[in-house]
């Protein structure tokens, strides 16, 4: 593209970002000017074209699989090995360590805060020597593929605000989810599937609820909202034709409907009619492409073996991980899994074992599977929850039982692929896994980094709403350059 043209594209993009433009006008203009569209296969005026005609940086990742572990997995029982806690087992959390941290109403009234060491054994794994407890034997095997961030921290202490913060950059509901931002900015690479897909699963114990606002579009156009794929017969709401309407008769309806709408278009001249015709076509394509993506029957046994026996049961975390790979193969931009049930206020040893059993093998399998298919290099995989857990016991601490309350000041997540360094551990917590002592990573830093990997400058990617420019990272966030390959 020549310089002048590129300039126009940039101007157009800037114009778009600086003016309140809810429609598709500028995106369409961008295409008319011949800017590099992310999805050449889409018609020029299709809103599924991203509004960023070109990314700010060279993207390292094309898509994201986010394995959200809802409820707040305990960092001290999984990855953040703390021998000091064993030494001080049962002693009160020193006030110098707690240092005024706000507690939730669950433990605020507790008269003592007895330190509780993990009852699980830890080992260093692989070449990198990352610490992983025995709860996660399969993840331990792939430790060298992963980047552990031990210094994540957040601002919220209750589930709803904390998950909302992670997914939208604000504790208050109403902002667009990460996946919506990416769909809005980068557009779609597959015109036959939604751009932002959500898969849910839950653990054995009664979990915290989850809500559709987490994949909501906030103030962005609703076509960027996440579409939940369900495990039943109707994977997307209203996807199936009514009884007695076959694909053949549906095709006839759509053909004639298109003609009828075209007649109106010719008479009336409203270009929205043209757009409606193409949306009906996309709906029709989805009727085939969604079941095709969801159909695991052609997967060989060795794949099910890799993901574990649960992967044959629709709706499980393992089955969802396998689906995530299939969606990544189909170039879906943002694949969001939620696995519920990590909120272990009591009976942690028993419950975290069950959660780990449900998620360990499939999480590791997904990394292996993506890698051998050459997808890992441009797919960013993230594993993590909304906050960590306390080093002291909620409720009575006994020799083999304890619970842990929410803890915002430090927790561990891991990432892999998509331009992330492999085989490293970033950040450090104190001997109590209570405070961060090195390289803190705030939720907004994580978001800024994720956007960076996808080629987006988080400070420049904004949407003007109610007279203010909003961004995923609100008013803060720094790209964590040290974890980028």
């Amino acid at each position: 593209m020549d310089i002048l043209n590129e300039h126009y594209c940039q101007m157009n993009r800037r114009h778009f970002l600086s003016k309140l433009s809810l429609g598709v006008g500028s995106a369409a203009l961008g295409s008319l000017l011949g800017c590099t569209a992310n999805s050449a296969s889409l018609p020029e005026n299709d809103p599924l074209n991203g509004i960023l005609n070109s990314t700010h940086f060279l993207p390292k990742a094309k898509r994201v699989i986010y394995l959200f572990q809802s409820g707040g997995p305990s960092q001290m029982d999984l990855f953040d090995y703390k021998p000091m806690l064993k030494k001080m087992q049962g002693q009160d959390l020193p006030e110098s360590v707690r240092n005024g941290q706000r507690l939730t109403g669950m433990t605020a009234g507790q008269s003592s805060f007895p330190l509780a060491s993990s009852i699980f054994d830890f080992k260093q794994r692989g070449q990198s020597g990352a610490w992983v407890s025995d709860l996660m034997p399969h993840v331990a095997e792939i430790a060298d593929e992963l980047c552990f961030v031990k210094s994540m921290h957040t601002e919220a202490i209750n589930h709803d605000p904390a998950i909302t913060f992670f997914q939208t950059g604000s504790q208050q509901p109403g902002r667009p989810s990460m996946g919506s931002w990416l769909s809005y900015g980068l557009g779609s690479d597959n015109k036959n599937l939604p751009n932002f897909i959500v898969l849910l699963s839950r653990g054995a114990q009664r979990p915290q609820p989850i809500y559709s606002r987490l994949w909501g579009n906030g103030f962005l156009p609703s076509l960027h909202q996440g579409v939940q794929f369900r495990s039943g017969k109707d994977p997307v709401l209203y996807l199936n034709n009514p009884d007695g309407i076959t694909s053949t008769s549906r095709r006839k309806v759509l053909d004639h409907l298109a003609h009828l709408n075209q007649i109106r278009m010719d008479d009336f001249g409203d270009p929205e009619i043209q757009s409606r015709i193409s949306q009906y076509e996309m709906a029709y394509r989805m009727q085939t492409s969604v079941p095709d993506a969801m159909d695991l029957s052609e997967e060989p046994d060795e794949v099910f073996d890799l993901y574990g026996p649960d992967s044959r049961k629709p709706g499980t975390y393992a089955a969802n991980c396998l689906l995530a790979r299939r969606l990544a193969e189909r170039d879906v931009k943002f694949i969001q899994l939620y696995h519920l049930g990590w909120d272990q206020h009591s009976d942690l040893p028993r419950d975290i074992s069950l959660q780990s059993r449900d998620t360990d093998q499939a999480s590791a399998a997904l990394i292996k599977d993506l890698k051998r298919r050459g997808l890992l290099e441009d797919t960013l995989v993230v594993w993590g929850g909304e906050f960590g857990r306390t080093n002291y016991s909620q409720g009575t601490l006994t020799e083999d039982n304890y619970g842990r309350d929410h803890h915002p000041r430090c927790f561990t997540i891991w990432m892999a692929g998509g331009g992330i360094k492999s085989g490293i551990t970033y950040g450090e917590t104190d001997e109590f896994s209570y405070n961060i002592v090195k390289d803190p990573v705030h939720v907004h830093d994580f978001q800024a980094t994720m956007l960076y990997l996808l080629g987006i400058d988080h400070e420049k990617f904004t949407f003007k709403h109610q007279g203010r420019r909003y961004r995923l990272t609100d008013v803060s966030g720094h790209v964590v350059k040290d974890i980028i390959a």
């Binding site: 310089i3 002048l4 300039h7 309140l20 429609g23 706000r102 109403g105 669950m106 009234g109 209750n158 589930h159 208050q172 509901p173 849910l200 009664r206 609820p209 559709s212 606002r213 156009p221 609703s222 076509l223 369900r230 039943g232 017969k233 109707d234 997307v236 709401l237 996807l239 199936n240 009514p242 009884d243 007695g244 309407i245 076959t246 053949t248 008769s249 006839k252 309806v253 004639h256 409907l257 003609h259 009828l260 709408n261 007649i263 109106r264 009336f268 001249g269 929205e272 009619i273 409606r276 015709i277 949306q279 009906y280 709906a283 049961k313 709706g315 499980t316 109610q466 007279g467 203010r468």
Partner: protein, 957 residues
């Protein structure tokens, strides 16, 4: 390469800026105008670093006094009358990159610099943003002058009312002609959707088409304005602003019983309550003298804020969040201003300061609600029998005790029975020792434990009401003064029967005391709570103690307090004892308090009237005062947007200097002035004015040329054409198929919804499809769950209503196509429509014509009829070949949901467990057809399904 690019870039910039200024200067008057010429420059180049957020170099251009003030360098940056010595000019013209402003970004153009120079030389006059000056009375453009400026006479004869004069003037400027009136079928459909949210009936269309009188259209409009469905349509709109929902919003998102507010809205609109009254009642109905139940229910407007029941949350944190939401919503709805910007710092662009946020916050900071699970204060509506009991008590009060003949006192007691405030909640106690707030909701103290109520004023309070959850037998609560060993003022025995609201006597005390509640039970295990308390109220005793009949009346009183009734969350102002001080939150953080502030409105918009009380009532009066420059403009603009698709100010939510400027400023001001002064805030009069205009009645057909000149139809040379909203799409399909119920009011209903949409994990609530006609009610009555709104409405851009939504962004997506093609609700409508088509005639052409006419009210064109016939024949052939599909296509589409999830819970998936028996609420009769016409009906159903998916059907044309 890089350099070349830079040169090219600046070249292009210069050229484009040059063109801009060429245009600019062609109409610029001699005096530089601050609002239109200088403010945009300051906003663009300076204010990010020198404004409400940052004041680099101690220089800010947000207010004049700041801009003229001494900066860090010790001298002012702007010297009025002397541009040459003004530092600002020096800095923007400097060649030194260290000095030159803006420090980042392109330098200002010559023309921009000249403008700033001229402005300073002319005295650096500050001006007010247009929206902060109150609209003046002005006359519409003169018809004679208009006629002179147009080439054709018919244009002025096109004018129907004053609105058209403004529109025509602008069209003339752009050399555009208005469009002719839409055909009658299209016009009545449009105005019907706009005024009542429903399509017209075929009879109404026929009547209109055959009415040759000049008032034919006005008759239609008047009839629609008088329709009870008018209120339903406009309540729907207002509910987005009020963030109305049937649930609380956070986490498990449990039920909120607030539908009486929705019914209040419908009523208010139907009775054309003037907008000023409508405003005052919603913001401060509880503060009006002797408030009626309706006035309390009106205040539920601001009780639609989200409430967090999640275990472990701090009620104060979420109470503050609710107050913040009330502040932001009030500004967004009535003032079209994003006030939330100044929650953390002064406004980046508009003249509002950080402190002013909290002064405004103070108006809302003294209601009794505290994010508790009871959602109190509630106004309990009683059954008529119970209401009679309330009358008995009132009667007693007026005849007994010292308050004898005191009607006011009787009313006060009656209100207390309905509202029972001020409650003391578990979290209001401190020093909780050996006890807990169970699930952060209930006060549960173990044997020997205690808690304290600090500095509590006991004057006049000798009765204590306690709401118990449960109690162990043989326990006691001792209430002691000043310490756990202090003087006993009440001893409350507990037993198995201690539950619900119970009343106890307190020793008479004066003034404030620390009250210690000591919980004892010798028989209970130390880890078992003595009892569980929901709330308590300190109050006065009923009058007439000891007199005959007192015991009975006292029991009636207690019975009523224990009657659940139909409670609606309301606003209820704190009594002085419960007064909260308001502080500025440093950088918006509620945990970091800065200086204390008193209620007030921003200085820029003129202060509160001198005689106005400094509370919500005073505030409400200020909002609807004729001095307020924003309220009327924002409101008429909102109604305009509902009819025309775009507001005269496109940014409905931002009338500030960063918002869009009005397309027709004089029209906006004229409408606002009329609304306040001529129409006395009547919303029906305002709407009538708009829909009677020729502008509104234009055909929405668009030529390629016009599409190019004015793609967004800002100039209104054609009528509005846009997709119907979520509620209208549902209501329409039920209406044209004859399924729509016209039942009004009442609890929200649950129409058909796919299984498993509600991911209810432990709230114990489920979607139980409503029975009978309740499945076919208008969308305004659909149960609105914030974390999982009705899916087909979400597809059509309905918001979740977690927060105030001023503008729905209309999108066009494949998921919408799936809804209208496949949702059983829509398919059932297709079946019903087909069945109606079949009975109209034996002739296929007639059946198809009738179907088209039923949904769009006009005759089908030959080419469309031909298209439908081909479809029909193809499909009929298909059913001839596949007769087994006929019964399927004619079966109850609801059954489609019943076998959706076969093995849901076994597989650990998220599907909701369905009680199958419960779900089979629909015992619909099969649509009757004999062998012969069954395949006709099947093919017609497919044709009807197609009709209901036409673009022209889901669009307001």
């Amino acid at each position: 390469m890089k350099l070349r690019r830079k040169i090219l870039l600046s070249g292009i910039l210069l050229i484009s800026l040059g063109a801009y200024f060429l245009f600019f200067f062609s109409w610029k008057q001699e005096e530089v105008d601050f609002s239109t010429e200088i403010k945009p420059l300051l906003n663009k180049h300076c204010i990010t670093c020198h404004g409400g957020v940052k004041k680099n170099g101690k220089f800010s251009v947000l207010f004049r006094h700041e801009a003229m003030d001494t900066t860090e360098s010790g001298k002012p940056a702007i010297i009025p009358g002397d541009a040459d010595h003004s530092e600002l000019i020096h800095r923007i013209t400097s060649n030194d990159p260290e000095e030159r402003m803006p420090s980042e970004g392109e330098p200002l153009s010559k023309e921009e610099i000249q403008l700033l120079k001229d402005w300073i030389d002319q005295g650096a006059k500050w001006g007010e943003h247009w929206a902060y000056k109150k609209p003046e009375k002005l006359s519409p453009p003169d018809v004679e002058t208009l006629a002179a400026s147009t080439s054709a006479d018919q244009e002025t004869s096109w004018i129907k009312n004053d609105i058209d004069k403004f529109i025509l003037e602008k069209l003339n400027e752009e050399s555009l002609q208005p469009s002719a009136e839409a055909d009658r079928a299209t016009l009545i459909r449009r105005v019907s959707f706009d005024l009542i949210g429903l399509p017209p009936s075929p009879e109404d269309v026929k009547a209109f088409e055959s009415d040759n009188s000049p008032e034919a259209y006005e008759k239609v409009v008047d009839k629609l304005l008088a329709s009870p469905h008018y209120g339903e349509r406009w309540a729907s709109m207002w509910m987005d602003l009020a963030r109305y929902a049937d649930t609380r919003g956070y986490e498990k998102d449990s039920y909120r019983n607030i539908w009486k507010y929705r019914d209040w809205l419908i009523n208010a609109f139907n009775h054309d309550m003037p907008f000023d009254q409508f405003t005052i009642e919603q913001l401060a109905g509880d503060l009006l003298p002797n408030p009626s139940p309706e006035l309390y229910v009106a205040t539920a407007f601001h009780r639609n804020t989200m409430n967090n029941d999640e275990g472990g949350t701090d009620n104060e944190e979420f109470r503050v969040a609710e107050v913040i939401d009330r502040v932001n919503t009030t500004w967004e709805v009535w003032q079209g201003t994003t006030f939330s910007c100044i929650q953390c710092h002064s406004h980046p662009y508009d003249p509002f300061t950080h402190d002013e946020y909290y002064k405004f916050f103070a108006f809302f900071n003294n209601t009794r609600d505290e994010d508790t699970f009871t959602e109190s204060p509630n106004y309990k509506e009683f059954s008529s029998e119970d209401e009679e009991k309330v009358d008995d008590i009132k009667n007693w009060i007026t005849h007994h005790g010292s308050a004898k003949e005191n009607k006011e006192k009787a009313e006060e007691i009656a209100r207390f029975i309905h509202i029972t405030e001020p409650k003391v909640h578990p979290h209001n106690f401190d020093s909780l020792t050996n006890g807990t707030h169970a699930d952060t909701k209930f006060l549960v103290v173990y044997p020997g434990g205690f808690c304290r109520l600090k500095d509590f004023n006991l004057t006049g309070k000798t009765r204590l009401l306690i709401s118990f959850g449960w109690a162990l037998p043989n326990g006691t609560i001792e209430i002691r003064k000043e310490s756990t060993e202090g003087e006993l003022i009440a001893k409350i025995p507990l037993s198995d029967n201690t539950k619900g609201v119970l009343a106890y006597d307190l020793k008479k005390e004066e003034g404030e005391h620390n009250l210690y509640f000591v919980f004892k039970n010798k028989h209970a295990e130390p880890t078992k709570g003595v009892c569980s308390i929901n709330w308590m109220v300190f109050t006065e005793p009923l009058a007439g103690s000891g007199e005959a009949g007192f015991e009975k009346i006292q029991q009636t009183y207690l019975d009523l307090l224990n009657t659940e009734g139909n409670p609606t969350p309301i606003m209820f102002e704190n009594k002085p004892d419960f007064h909260r001080n308001t502080y500025v939150f440093s950088r918006g953080n509620w945990l970091v308090r800065d200086k204390q502030v008193e209620p007030d409105v921003p200085a820029t918009l003129g202060g509160l009237p001198a005689d106005a009380p400094k509370n919500r009532l005073g505030l409400a009066h200020w909002i609807v005062s004729e001095e307020n420059p924003l309220t009327a403009r924002v409101t008429v603009n909102r109604f305009w947007e509902q009819l025309f698709g775009k507001g005269l100010v496109e940014t409905l939510e931002d009338f500030g200097s960063q918002g869009e400027t009005p397309s027709h400023p004089e029209l906006l001001d004229w409408l606002a002035w009329q609304f306040m002064h001529e129409n006395d805030w009547s919303m029906k009069a305002l709407l009538k004015q708009m829909v009677m205009s020729a502008t509104y009645r234009q055909s929405s057909e668009v030529s390629l040329a016009l599409l190019e000149t004015d793609p967004a139809n800002r100039l209104l040379a054609r009528g509005p054409r846009f997709r119907l909203n979520a509620e209208q799409i549902r209501d329409q399909v039920l209406a044209v198929s004859g399924l729509l119920s016209d039942k009004m009011y009442g609890e929200s209903v649950m129409p058909l919804q796919p299984n498993g949409v509600w991911q209810v994990v432990y709230s114990g609530e489920s979607w139980n499809t409503s029975q009978g006609e309740d499945q076919y009610r208008r969308a305004v009555y659909t149960y609105w769950r914030r974390t999982s709104p009705y899916p087909s409405m979400v597809s059509f851009d309905a918001p979740s209503r977690e927060f105030c939504t001023t503008r729905r962004v209309s999108t066009n997506t494949p998921l919408q196509a799936l809804v209208t093609l496949n949702d059983p609700v829509y398919f059932e409508a297709a079946q019903q429509l087909a069945s109606n088509m079949l009975t109209t005639s034996d002739n296929l052409d007639e059946q198809l014509k009738a179907g088209y006419k039923r949904v769009l009210f006009r005759e089908i064109s030959d080419n469309k009829l031909e298209e439908l016939k081909i479809l029909y024949n193809e499909v009929k052939q298909y059913y001839r070949d596949n007769p087994e599909a006929i019964q399927e296509v004619l079966s109850d589409p609801a059954s489609f949901f019943e076998n959706t999830d076969e093995k849901e819970d076994e597989n650990g998936g998220m599907e909701q467990k369905i009680d199958r028996e419960e779900q089979k609420v629909r015992q619909k009769e099969k649509i009757p057809c004999d062998q012969d016409d069954c395949y006709q009906l099947a093919a017609l159903t497919v044709a009807a399904n197609t009709l209901l998916n036409l673009d022209e059907f889901i669009t307001k044309e």
